[in-house]
């Protein structure tokens, strides 16, 4: 092709090679020395934090090689950068370890039951039927692979019950492949070239040679491994070709007397759908059990408690970022691992872009804090939004202290140390209170506790508005109304939890116990006014009468009990109101709570189409040039000849009907780009015209490449419109 010579530029023909190993040029190698780059402040760079803490300059540190920038207008010391990096690693490793532990246990119960099912399954129990385990895995297909690997390693390595062959829908193209895969997994014959229907050479002389998809091979294997079971696990039953599955089941069933097969089926939807898929005759061959995998909400809650609420996690999520993360979880991913990744990204962003995050590394020792904090850090602390209210509160009582904070770095550093302790105390209290509240909710109204997981309450609590929410008031009201037995269990459970109320609660519990036993001696149970039924009240008066009647029946124990209930509920309410204060009240909360929405909302969800559409319909937004509307008018700049050619063409395209004539498009394009000159009749050799034409071709090819148009088969030289803006 003659265009090749034109296309070749400095990198030679490498760009036409499908793939190659990149060899750095000498110029590129010299890059390893630090090179300054100016990062102009831009709304599109996700690090908006940069603009807050320092202004906008960052530099690479070659030594670290992890791209950690020097913040604070280059005033940050190298050791501070290193400390930041090191702190990030230390803290994240800790969180990661703890979440991994939780995650490892998540499926433990399921694994346990599956494993015992496999070990118990034998011909004595199931007779002629094929032992089958239905594993209801839930809709999060991303987690299924992990689960089945766990099952495999559990049965194969831990329990040593036999071999597991995991099948996925990819293998289900035909029965032969499925059998081959099972045989491969079981016998572990990996010779790489088994795709042809080779005849497997018999190892010992007595067995005849067989095809490599002959289940007899497994039989041979079984005879050398007595007692071992062969587990065939289908990971995604829904996607598995039903016809192949039916055949597979019938074969497994036929070989059952010879080979101890066990079938495991992963079902993401429901049993009913599975049953509908297979003929009755096949289902009749199966017998077994079903296993539920832990619900997503439960495992998520456990991870959340461990990774965010736990007092060991120094950095917490702020309410805004928590909302973003949990909304994504709820609506899109529903996977715990993606939550862990989002959390990790929060840690990364915080330590990457916030110079003050270095404080998190030395919260335990005032000395190291003093050494790591430079003057630039102190200045940055004074610029924190939470510093101002902090100083203002000091002015009233101790004006000299306020002055000191503003002038002396030493005083500030010690204040930072105290504040960091304060922050930690706040989070510990918060975790305690949340824990307490959840326990209370689970006893008082288990229904509601199940419906709303902790992590959805979290952001409300941090804003400090949770105590005004109906969920909170409901919980408090129902606490008053529960029966005395329940109230007693509530008190004892709550008093076992670590909190400042525990003592009070256990005293109250003792009292209630006492009262109850007194009352029980009389043959009735404790009642408070709140428990009394109010459904019979028809009028105010008759209600009064009833109430009075009931009240008169109340004994002295009841009255005392009622007082106890009232005071306890009161105590709990004040306690919660105390603990659920907005986090923004605390000095240095910016450092202990990561709360930036912008990188998270962008980096985890790609918006290719809106971004391309925006770039093409309002190029000024990205280019920031004067000629293309510069983004200063809100309705979009409209078509202008000054815009990039692709943008012009795209906007013409937007106005076109579903079927676009290429020539029509060209004439419109020409009109826009040439403006007044377009009226002159063009002759064929006009260089300008030709050039514009070339641009037109390129722009059109680009639109096609991006997926906006394709050629119409119906009409010559026509394009079909494939995308409508905003649709």
């Amino acid at each position: 092709m003659d265009d090749d010579s034109v296309l070749n530029d400095d990198s030679g023909s490498l760009e036409h090679q499908a793939c190659y190993i990149y060899t750095p040029t000498s110029e590129a190698l010299s890059l390893s020395t630090p090179k300054k780059r100016r990062a102009a402040s831009s709304s599109r760079t996700p690090r908006s934090k940069r603009e807050k803490t320092d202004s906008n300059n960052c530099e690479t540190i070659g030594a670290l090689g992890h791209g950690f920038p020097t913040l604070l207008r280059d005033l940050e010391g190298e050791d501070a950068v290193n400390a930041r990096f090191e702190t990030f690693h230390r803290l994240w490793k800790d969180v990661e370890r703890r979440t991994d532990d939780v995650l490892a246990q998540v499926n433990d119960e399921t694994l346990q039951s599956v494993s015992s099912f496999v070990s118990k399954a034998s011909q004595d129990i199931y007779g002629e039927k094929l032992p089958t385990g239905l594993i209801l895995t839930g809709p999060n297909i991303a987690a299924h692979g992990v689960l089945f690997e766990q099952i495999e390693s559990r049965i194969q390595s831990v329990d040593k019950r036999g071999r597991v062959a995991i099948l996925t829908s990819k293998d289900s193209s035909n029965l032969k492949n499925v059998l081959k895969k099972i045989i491969r997994c079981v016998t572990e014959i990996h010779d790489g070239f088994v795709d042809e229907d080779d005849i497997v050479e018999a190892k010992s002389g007595k067995n005849p040679s067989r095809y490599n998809y002959d289940p007899e091979i497994i039989h041979d294997w079984c005879s050398t491994h007595p007692g071992a079971k062969v587990v065939v696990a289908v990971q995604d039953t829904e996607a598995f070709d039903p016809a192949v599955l039916v055949e597979l089941i019938s074969i497994l069933h036929q070989y059952l007397p010879k080979i101890p097969f066990i079938l495991l089926l992963g079902i993401a939807t429901s049993e009913d759908i599975f049953y509908e898929k297979l003929p009755h005759s096949t289902i009749r061959l199966l017998r077994g059990d079903r296993f539920d995998v832990q619900r997503f909400e439960e495992s998520m809650e456990q991870v959340f408690e461990e990774a965010v609420l736990s007092s060991q996690s120094v950095l917490k999520l702020g309410p805004r970022v928590a909302d973003v993360i949990f909304e994504r979880q709820k609506d899109h991913t529903r996977s715990v691992s993606s939550f862990v990744m989002a959390l990790k990204y929060a840690y990364m962003s915080h330590f990457y872009a916030n110079a003050l995050s270095v404080i998190l590394g030395s919260i335990d020792s005032e000395e190291s804090l003093n050494t790591i904090l430079s003057d630039a850090h102190c200045e940055a602390i004074r610029n924190l939004p939470s510093f101002k209210p902090f100083v203002e509160t000091k002015i009233l009582g101790f004006p000299w202290r306020a002055r000191e904070l503003l002038t002396s770095n030493k005083a500030l550093k010690s204040a930072v140390f105290t504040a960091s302790k304060e922050c930690q105390r706040y989070s510990t209290n918060l975790a305690e209170a949340i824990n307490l509240f959840r326990k209370l909710q689970s006893i008082v109204s288990p229904q509601q506790a199940n419906e709303i997981p902790t992590y959805e309450l979290y952001s409300r609590i941090l804003w400090g508005e949770f105590t005004t929410r109906p969920a909170f008031r409901d919980a408090m009201l129902t606490t008053k109304k529960i029966s005395s037995e329940k109230f007693l269990t509530l008190l004892t459970t709550l008093s076992e939890l670590p909190s400042e109320l525990s003592e009070k609660l256990s005293i109250a519990a003792d009292k209630v116990q006492e009262l109850q036993s007194e009352k029980a001696a009389k043959g009735s149970s404790l009642v408070s006014e709140f428990v009394l039924p109010d459904s019979h009240r028809t009028t105010v008066k008759s209600g009064r009468v009833r109430l009075d009647e009931q009240k008169s029946k109340m004994t002295s124990q009841d009255t005392e009990y009622q007082k106890l209930v009232t005071s306890t509920v009161q105590d709990l309410e004040t306690y919660f109101k105390n603990k659920f204060k907005p986090y923004t009240n605390i000095f240095l909360h910016e450092i202990f709570f990561y709360d930036l929405k912008s990188p998270h909302s962008q980096v985890f969800a790609a918006k290719p189409r809106p971004s391309v559409e925006r770039a093409l319909s309002r190029p000024g937004d990205y280019l920031g040039c004067e000629c293309c509307g510069g983004g200063n008018d809100d309705d979009g700049a409209g078509i202008g000849g000054s815009q990039p050619y692709s943008a012009v063409l795209y906007q013409l395209y937007l106005e076109s009907p579903a079927l676009i004539g290429v020539y029509d498009l060209w004439s419109a394009f020409r009109m826009v780009c040439l403006g007044d000159k377009a009226d002159q009749e063009a002759d064929d050799d006009d260089e300008e015209e030709k050039e514009l034409q070339a641009q037109f071709y390129r722009a059109l090819a680009e639109l096609r490449y991006l997926g906006f148009v394709k050629y119409s088969k119906k009409k010559t030289d026509h394009l079909v419109k494939l995308a409508w803006k905003g649709l």
Binding site: L7, Y22, A40, S335, Y345, Y663, R698, T716, W724, G726
Partner: protein, 532 residues
């Protein structure tokens, strides 16, 4: 309510244009029918008056006819109002009747009018007045007067969907429905673009200096400022996907220098190159890890191959935790990698801790490539990297029958008369000698037939000049172009694919082939083949 009113009175005979008196009587009689006994004739008139008045307030482009109505209304003199109303009504009824007579005709005209006057109607009220006033009058007539029930209703509905919002403002769903409505749009099928040879195309593009060069450079520098952040994200086990308009090739090549400087092996994959397979990528990764002559052989099954590669990577990282391979994929959504299997394997590969994947995607629907499980494996961090750099390589490197060649020849080669021949030459250049020869035989025979017929140089090739399938095959055999029917068919298929040949079964059920080009073009193609 309106409907009922309309339904009740009998339709006036179309030929007897009612006099003023009779019309009025018609109306005064009307309310006394049991439908709505809301009183006196006067009231009925005032009721009738209302819709037109409100309509006036609403519509900015009210026809002049109505303006008079409104003015009359303003004077608040009942008899005059009545008169004006009456005259308006009379007029509209006349219109109605005319319409009902030539209804069929109107429907066609409607479509026509719509297309032609669309812009006009929007931007120029005065001009559109005549056609508008007709239909608007009719609307008021439909609402008020006793007219044939069915027809006006149908018309009214049509009217509603007929008035589209201004074209420029249409976006989103509205635009979809607006533009997808079935109607014949006159578009210039006959005129085609003057062709541009690839050479001139590339020369012109090279010459052109972009007026936005500085802005694009600035945008680029903004992205470059994020390189450190990207390095950090990659080092933390995330993979990066760039999206947004503009070729991200250069930007990524710039970025890769940084990665290479860290001592990572870098494997570059040009996804846009046709013929790329997932095996190539995996092989190259292994080459990067083990060196070129590693001597490791993989099975035929790609899934198994992946298993062993992951194992190799495990071993690779065992020695040194920080060692890793950076995999750079330009256009991960390019057609070569668009299969779900390729993406699943890439996801598996990228999820290995030793692999740092940074990729770019261009298609607006690229997100549809991945389901949730592949996406979890990919563990992508998405960055908007709109560069505004033209996609030169990506589009030219695309498959010849799909890429820029097409556009240059103004559609698929051979489709449009004038420019098609150039495309044919282009296609022929990439074909084997045998294929060229076969095509030569085809058009030479066709040209002889055309010559015999005395056709002019602009005469298109048609069935009449075609050559029978068997004859062509025989000729091919004689010239050793093909040895069997199968080979012959394979050769022909290439021509069909590029629409260089058309065929039809004739009356005797034997197939006739011909090249759908003008004589002049055929001559030039023939010349080209002979010379080449």
């Amino acid at each position: 309510m309106k409907r009922k009113r309309e339904d009740i009175p009998p339709p006036p005979p179309p030929d007897a244009t009612p006099s003023r008196r009779s019309r009025v009587r018609d109306i005064t009689v009307d309310p006394s029918t049991p439908s709505k006994a809301n009183g006196t004739p006067r009231k009925a008139v005032s009721f009738l008056n209302e819709p037109s008045a409100t309509e006036l307030g609403r519509s900015p482009r009210t026809p002049r006819q109505k303006q008079i109505d409104a003015n009359d209304d303003g004077t608040a003199d009942p008899p005059i109002v009545r008169n004006a109303n009456r005259s308006a009504r009379r007029k509209s009824v006349r219109n109605m009747i005319q319409r009902s007579i030539r209804e069929d005709l109107m429907d066609e005209e409607d479509g026509f009018e719509e297309e032609d006057n669309l812009a006009q109607r929007i931007f120029d009220d005065e001009d559109a007045g005549s056609s508008e006033s007709e239909s608007d009058d009719e609307k008021s007539a439909g609402a008020g007067t006793s007219t044939p029930a069915k027809k006006p209703r149908g018309r009214q509905k049509k009217k509603k969907e007929k008035s589209p919002p201004p074209v420029v403002a249409i976006e989103g769903p509205t635009a979809y429905f607006e533009q997808n409505r079935a109607r014949a749009r006159p578009s210039s099928t006959t005129t085609t673009l003057p062709p541009l040879s690839p050479k001139t195309y590339f020369r012109l593009l090279e010459q052109h200096d972009d007026k936005h060069a500085a802005d694009i450079e600035h945008l680029n520098s903004l992205h470059q400022a994020n390189f450190d952040q990207w390095v950090f994200e990659l080092s933390q086990g995330f993979n990066i996907l760039l999206y947004g308009y503009g070729s991200k090739r250069k930007l990524l090549m710039e970025f890769i220098k940084k990665e290479a400087a860290l001592g990572n092996h870098v494997v570059v994959v040009n996804g846009y190159v046709g013929g790329l397979t997932i095996r190539d990528i995996v092989n190259m990764v292994v080459n990067a890890v083990l060196g070129m002559n590693h001597g490791v052989r993989f099975g035929v099954n790609v899934n198994e191959m992946m298993d062993s590669v992951l194992q190799i990577l495990d071993e690779y990282q065992e020695k040194d935790e920080d060692k890793s391979v950076t995999l750079l994929i330009h256009s991960i959504d390019a057609s070569a990698l668009r299969t779900s299997q390729a993406q699943a394997l890439l996801a598996q590969l990228s999820s290995h801790p030793a692999i740092r994947l940074i990729a770019s995607s261009d298609n607006i629907l690229s997100s549809l490539l991945w389901d949730s499980s592949t996406l979890t494996l990919f563990n992508f961090i998405f960055h908007d990297a709109t560069t505004f750099v033209p996609y030169d390589l990506e589009i030219s490197a695309a498959d010849e029958s799909e890429g820029i060649v097409d556009v240059i020849t103004g559609g698929t080669a051979g489709r449009s008369g004038r420019s098609g021949a150039k495309g044919v030459k282009y296609v022929l250049a990439s074909l084997t000698g045998n294929a060229k020869n076969l095509y030569r035989i085809l058009i030479a025979t066709q040209l002889t037939a055309m010559e015999d017929d005395g056709a002019g140089k602009d005469k298109m090739g048609t069935e009449a000049y075609g050559i029978a399938y068997r004859t062509l095959y025989q000729k091919g055999l004689e010239e050793f172009v093909c040895s069997s029917d199968l080979v012959f068919k394979t050769l022909l298929k290439e021509f069909y694919d590029h629409q260089m040949v058309t065929s039809r079964k004739d009356l005797q059920e034997s197939e006739v082939l011909w090249a759908p080009f003008r004589k002049e073009e055929l001559e030039s193609i023939l010349e080209d083949i002979m010379l080449g």
